[in-house]
Symmetry: none
Subunit: 210 residues, 2 copies
DNA sequence: GAACAAATCACATAATCATGTTAGATACAT
DNA sequence: ATGTATCTAACATGATTATGTGATTTGTTC
């Protein structure tokens, strides 16, 4: 019987996964918390789980910090990240912190179950897209073209400016165009990405969704 | 229709895989050679495959050498290693040479088929044991840089709101506090992180620097 | 119980952003 | 040559953000 723990702040997702896993013959899932802090408290008083599913974006401590702390105190616990983020920073930071697997949130319940079993038998579960990012890290940074960004080269420039935290004025300076042109590009970017704030563009970009 | 090629010197295995794959609706497997040299000759005269299954131990040139040569000449060909070797050197050398996947030879025919499809849709097929080795390669690295931002739990909540693309007003609603309180927290966050815009906070957060 | 961090709220103002409308110059494809 | 896409630019206005200066409450720590 494999003991599974969950750290996930979305109650609906957490409950769904917990119920599904606990229903399985070979799994038991009693510990489902919404923060690393709560999980640490739980593990003080109870048997630590064998495998832990962990979100990244959490109230309080982030899931990545959580990995380090949990692995330091309970090195035998295997941690699978279960998150929407597929940007390289988060992936590599997670793996370097000691995660043993990395799944995207669209992973189905049966696949999550399989992943836990894979982990228990010495493998490392990873969503194919994640594996791809990891592998790309090895291949001589041969920049493979990103999948269809829809954005024109100039629009991509503007996005890069936003990601660097620049104001419209500074972006205009960087590319030597007028601030109104920057506005115009940003309008078009918003339309293409279906967003309406700098914040969302930056988030999408850093999550690898552009 | 995905065109698949095979380089494998064991005739029985090669024929088995070829027949199985060629039988599939969405795959065609015409090129099955027993050496990289033969495959290169084939590709001179015919359309190169989209995906290639490659053994390592081969007569003549090794599969790993083969990757480099094939990728240089036909960079769009995706190569999956299919081999009995699971030692780190062979794995990493293959990936560094440009392989997009790595399967062990006990992989079943349906799994091989799935792997080809995974690859075609932008993922990277890897046997779980291989994934494990690859991941271990990361955790052996240095520790994750400690984000010493030292945000309070509430401040982290606010950051999460920003990352989700919310306005001050919506963050205030989410946590049931006044918009001026949100402002106050954000002021403090900016001071701690040495930034002065939402954009920078979001970028830092998504880059794992918080 | 003084000192301090954390969380809460208010008022004010300047800067920046989001969005609507309009339009000229290239370039490329049908 | 006509349409479509891209890059450029201006003007305008309401919304949102950034920043300054305060203040109260609730815990914790020394």
């Amino acid at each position: 019987m494999i003991k599974v723990g969950i750290v996930e702040d979305n109650v609906k997702i957490r409950d769904l996964i917990q119920k599904y896993l606990d229903m399985q013959d070979n799994l038991s899932c009693k510990a489902a918390m919404d923060s690393v802090e709560d999980m640490l408290e739980y593990m003080e008083k109870n048997d630590p789980p064998d495998v832990m599913l962990m979100d990244i974006q959490l109230p309080g401590m982030s899931g990545i910090e959580g990995i380090s702390i949990i692995k330091e105190k309970y090195p035998e616990v295997e941690i699978i990240m279960l998150t929407v983020y597929h940007d390289s920073h988060k992936i590599f930071n997670s793996l370097m912190a000691g995660a043993s697997g990395y799944l995207l949130k669209h992973t189905s319940l049966p696949e999550i179950k399989e992943s836990i079993e894979t982990l228990a038998s010495g493998g490392a579960p990873m969503s194919p897209q994640i594996a791809r990012k990891v592998i790309q890290h090895f291949s001589d940074k041969q920049q493979v073209k990103k999948p269809e960004s829809n954005l024109t080269p100039r629009e991509q420039d503007i996005v890069n400016g936003l990601v660097d935290g620049l104001s419209y004025k500074l972006i205009a300076d960087r590319y030597d165009i007028s601030i109104d042109t920057v506005r115009a590009h940003i309008r078009n970017i918003y339309k293409k990405l279906h967003v309406n704030s700098k914040a969302e563009v930056i988030a999408k970009s850093l999550k690898g969704e552009i």
